[in-house]
Every structure is written in structure tokens, then in C-alpha cells.
């Protein structure tokens, strides 16, 4: 397959060139923040750093971190880098974790964000001949607006269905021959499930690629979606704090996401000591948005746990790749003192032949944490033989034990008993009152 890029001169630039761009932008950005964001300037002063100390990317470590707590404290205007008259848009997080983030954009910020999304679409094989259906939510959520803008930049015919109304989604995919689908992976799985129910096999579905992000999903879930719809499923990564989807995206190699390094400098730190870790280490991902004017995040702690690699990629892009985050440190459950990521549980379920329709219920009974993995029964996993169904259930318990290191209960639920999500799936119910 011929490799195509949206901005080849940047996406395939030699490493030295990227560092040069980053250094130049970082110096400028730190000055901008020092002059325009008193909240961050105070943080710099507290650490004894001034813009003069930042001469290249190598000095990045000297700067103070920003975290979700800072965003809360500075809400709504405390981190604004431009006067409101220069801002053209806000986007906001869902606030599912109780911490709503409001991010501001100038037209320049929107442009660079849409460029990033366009790079992702082209990396997934998109051209101006494609029909791109954006089934992410539109509105405050960044998913819809980001991919919509990227799709326009690539020149795709864009179908802005937003999320929901599943049968209408499928009607548009079929009737307008959509070739690229953008949505959350859990919604993609649900769309696939519904298509199968309607009698559509992979050959009846015109889609060739999917760009799925905004929540954690496993390799097994990718394979299942790819098989059901007959597509290639690509991961995309982003945070509202940094613009939205497109901070990083997967290429045809499908083994990690290229970070748009000309806009976002990535570091991996030890979440406890805050020390920068060498390449290849697992730790918390930290981003510095060097190009954003209105909401200039510097050393923003994402809480996502992952690794970075500079290994040469077969797609020809030179930007550093991040592995699929194994979880967010704030998604991470601590059960009986053990760290558990929902993605690990998903991997075990899919490996054992179940579908990704599950819920994780954590409770505390007699001062002991309980973990109940509730998964829907599937026709494939059901037999009339009680012993065999119990045997499969036991295998699942053993698989979870070996993956997580703790014992989990497995409950088999009736099909369709877990509410299907049109956006981010609710995977964890934590009933512990601590």
C-alpha cells in the first residue's frame, strides 16, 4: 500500500529537525505563558525558573507541572493565554469523574487541532475520495468537532451523524457508502453487533477503516471489531486539555500511536517522584502543548500510564510512538492493595471467547474488597451442558486470577442486560465507601 501523509514534511522530518522545531516553539511558548498566564508564572516563580532558563527542549524538565487539580483551581479563566476576544470556541470534558474541564481555542488552535485529526484520517487511509462518518458526539465533547474538522481538511465527504440512533447510523453507512467510521470503540462494537443482528456480514458493510478513541480498548476488542465489520481499526488519542483527539494517532503499522510532536512534546515520568524516565520506561505521560495560544498547557500530567518508543516505524513517520495506555492512573482500581486496570479484565474476557459487554463491580464487604466481573452470556459460550458452562466460567476466573493476581467473581448475565453506550462506556461501578 502506498504511504500517504497529510503533512509529510513534518510527519517524516528527521529527529534533529523535530527537536529544532520543538525547542524554538517551547522557548516562545514559555515566554507567552510567563507574560500572559499569571497562574503559571507564579508556579514558575515558586520553582525559581524564568523564561531565560529555557534554551531548548533539554530544559523542559525545569518547568513546573500542571495537573487536573490546577485546572480545577484555575477554572474557568485562570489558565487562559489569550484575551477572550481572540478566542473562538470552548470545548469541555464530560465531567464523568466530577472534574469538568473547559478548554479555550483561538482560530490558530482549532487549525492545528484539525490538522492533527487530518493526519490521523490520512494515516488510516483516508483521501478526498472517502466518505467519513463521524459518530462521536458533537457539542462540548471534542470527539465530534475534532474529527469533523480533520475530515474536512482531508476533503472527505463528511457525515456528521454524531452519536446515537444506531439504526440511522447503519442506514447512512449503507446508503451513502461510508468508508471511514469515527467513534468510541465501545460504540463501534455496538454498531457491529447491531449490523450482525440486521444480517450484514463484513462484505455487506462498505466501511474500510475505523478511527476509534476516547476510551481504553484492548487488542482483542480491535480484532473483534475488525472481523465483524471487515475493516482496519485504528486507535486515536487525545485530551480536551490539549485540544482533543489527534494528539497521537495510529498508522498502518497498528502498533502504537505517533504523537504529533511538532505540537505536543511528550515525556514519561515516575508518577510518584515526578522524575523524567528514560525512553522505553513505563510511566505517566506528560504533555507540553507548544503551539496552543488560548489554553497553553505546559507539562500537563495526563494520568495515562504508557511507554514511548523511537524505534523506526514501517510507515515512514518519524514522530515518537506511544503504546496504547494500559490505563489511566485515575481509572486504575486498587483492589485488596493490587492495581487493576479495566483493560486487563477486558483482555481476559475476550481471550476466553466472551464479548466486550461487561461491567466491573467493586464493593467492600466485611472490610474486604470484592471484585465482581459481570459479563453477558453469548450464544457461542452457551451450551445445554451445565458442567461445561461452569467449566468455562471457572476458566475465566482462573484467567482473571493469573492476569490480575487477585481472585474475582464472575457473573454471567443475560444478553443485552448491560446498557449499551453511545459514547464512553461505563465499565466500572465502585460501591466502596471509604
Amino acid at each position: 500500500m502506498e504511504q500517504r501523509y497529510f503533512q509529510p514534511e513534518i510527519e517524516c522530518a528527521p529527529y534533529e529537525k523535530i527537536r529544532e522545531i520543538q525547542s524554538e516553539k517551547l522557548i516562545k511558548q514559555v515566554k507567552h505563558v510567563w507574560d500572559n498566564v499569571p497562574y503559571y508564572r507564579k508556579k514558575m516563580e515558586a520553582k525559581g525558573v524564568t523564561p531565560d532558563d529555557i534554551k531548548s527542549v533539554d530544559d523542559l524538565y525545569k518547568l513546573p507541572f500542571l495537573s487536573k487539580a490546577d485546572l480545577r483551581e484555575a477554572y474557568p479563566y485562570g489558565l487562559l493565554g489569550k484575551p477572550l476576544k481572540d478566542c473562538v470556541r470552548i470545548q469541555s470534558t464530560s465531567g464523568t469523574t466530577g472534574k469538568r474541564v473547559v478548554a479555550f481555542y483561538t482560530q490558530h488552535d482549532i487549525d492545528l487541532w484539525e490538522d492533527c485529526c487530518a493526519r490521523a484520517i490520512v494515516a488510516a487511509g483516508g483521501t478526498n475520495e472517502d466518505v467519513c462518518q463521524v459518530s462521536y458526539g458533537y457539542g462540548l465533547f471534542t470527539g465530534g468537532p475534532g474529527l469533523n474538522g480533520g475530515s474536512h481538511k482531508v476533503g472527505c465527504l463528511t457525515i456528521p451523524t454524531s452519536s446515537g440512533n444506531t439504526d440511522r447510523q447503519i442506514m447512512f453507512i449503507k446508503d451513502l457508502s461510508a468508508t471511514i467510521l469515527c467513534c468510541t470503540p465501545s460504540y463501534a462494537a455496538y454498531l457491529g453487533e447491531r449490523m450482525t443482528e440486521m444480517g450484514y456480514g463484513p462484505d455487506d458493510i462498505p466501511l474500510k477503516a475505523g478511527i476509534f478513541g476516547a476510551e481504553a480498548w484492548s487488542q482483542e476488542m480491535r480484532e473483534s471489531i475488525e472481523k465483524t465489520m471487515g475493516i482496519k481499526a485504528y486507535d486515536i488519542y487525545g485530551l480536551t486539555e490539549l485540544s482533543g483527539p489527534g494528539v497521537a494517532f495510529e498508522c498502518c503499522a497498528q502498533n502504537g500511536m505517533h504523537i504529533n510532536e511538532d505540537h505536543f512534546i511528550a515525556e514519561i515520568i515516575d508518577p510518584d517522584t515526578e522524575e523524567v524516565l528514560p525512553e522505553g520506561s513505563q510511566g505517566e505521560l506528560v504533555f507540553t502543548a507548544v503551539d496552543k495560544e488560548a489554553f497553553p498547557m505546559i507539562r500537563y500530567r495526563t494520568r495515562d500510564i504508557c511507554r514511548l518508543t523511537r524505534e523506526k516505524c514501517s510507515c515512514g513517520r518519524t514522530h515518537v510512538k506511544m503504546a496504547k495506555p494500559m490505563g489511566r492512573s485515575d481509572d486504575m482500581l486498587i483492589i485488596r492493595g493490587v492495581n487493576v486496570f479495566p483493560s486487563q479484565i477486558e483482555t481476559v474476557l475476550l481471550n476466553n471467547g466472551y464479548a466486550a459487554n461487561y461491567q466491573i463491580v467493586v464493593d467492600r464487604v466485611n472490610n474486604t474488597d470484592t471484585l465482581d466481573v459481570q459479563v453477558e452470556m453469548t450464544p457461542e459460550m452457551f451450551t445445554d451442558n451445565v458442567g461445561e458452562v461452569e467449566e468455562r466460567q471457572k476458566k475465566l476466573v482462573e484467567g482473571l486470577k493469573s492476569m490480575l493476581g487477585i481472585k474475582a467473581k464472575v457473573s454471567l448475565l443475560a444478553p443485552k442486560s448491560i446498557t449499551r453506550s453511545e459514547g464512553k462506556a461505563v465499565r466500572v461501578i465502585d460501591r466502596r465507601k471509604i
Partner: protein, 144 residues
């Protein structure tokens, strides 16, 4: 001729069995026989109906997991020792029974009907038929 039994997965919580019977009632599906196998965590309802294929599809359309399992249906006299006599033949034929349930009634009050699940339905059928046991067909069930 074996009979198709419907096996339905039931989540272990109040109301699931009622949900299933509700679907059957709404579609006027008459159960000839039923039994419920339960474990700590889930149950399997087993049903014998006149038109198994259409009933299993109805259940699937209503989001139940249901499958068809071949079972042997055999008529015995409804009297003391009736089942024992039949099991003598099973014994002689060395047919192992995985599970069994019974129903009676229908037009003929003098008979009871046994449903047997065995590992190899075809082989068991051949052995039992050769020993003079009459295995009921799906039509026989519908005519009871």
C-alpha cells in the same frame, strides 16, 4: 427420531424465568414439558414444545440465549414400575443418561412421557429401537 429440546440460559436473579414465560405466553407457545437446571450462578431452562424451531427463534428475537438440543422422548405406561421397566432396557443397551425429566397428561391419561438426554443420541436411539423401545418424533409430541 429424536425430539428437539430448547435450552435457555437464565441469569440467576428474580424475574428471569417470568420474563421467559412472558415471551412464550405472548407468542402463544404451549409447553409440553419443562425442567430447570440450576447452579449457584445461573440456570438453564429446558423446554419441549410443538414447534421447537419457531419457538427458539422467538426467544432469540427477545434477547434470550437459546439453543436446540436433541433428546429422546419415550412413552411409558403411567403405573408403578413403568420407568423401571424402561431403564432395564437402557441398562442392557449400556446407555448412560445425562439428565431426565417427565411429563404426563395429554389425550391419553394412561401414559407418561420421559425425556432423556444422552451423550450420543443417534447411537442410543439405534440401540433402544433394536430392543423394541418406541422413540417419539416431533409430530408424535404435537399429537399428544
Amino acid at each position: 427420531m429424536s425430539v428437539q429440546q430448547i435450552s435457555v440460559f437464565l441469569e440467576n436473579k428474580p424475574g428471569t424465568l417470568k420474563k421467559m414465560t412472558g415471551v412464550l405466553a405472548a407468542h402463544s407457545i404451549d409447553m409440553r414439558a419443562t425442567s430447570l437446571a440450576e447452579t449457584k450462578d445461573f440456570g438453564i431452562a429446558r423446554l419441549i414444545v410443538d414447534d421447537a424451531l419457531s419457538a427458539v427463534n422467538t426467544l432469540k428475537e427477545n434477547n434470550f440465549i437459546a439453543s436446540l438440543t436433541p433428546v429422546l422422548a419415550i412413552e411409558i405406561p403411567d403405573e408403578a414400575g413403568g420407568l423401571d421397566k424402561l431403564l432395564v432396557v437402557f441398562d442392557e443397551a449400556a446407555v448412560n443418561i445425562e439428565y431426565m425429566y417427565a411429563f404426563s397428561g395429554g389425550k391419553d391419561a394412561n401414559h407418561a412421557y420421559m425425556i432423556f438426554r444422552v451423550a450420543d443420541t443417534k447411537a442410543a436411539e439405534a440401540k433402544l429401537t433394536s430392543k423394541g423401545v418406541k422413540i417419539l418424533s416431533q409430530e408424535d409430541i404435537a399429537n399428544i
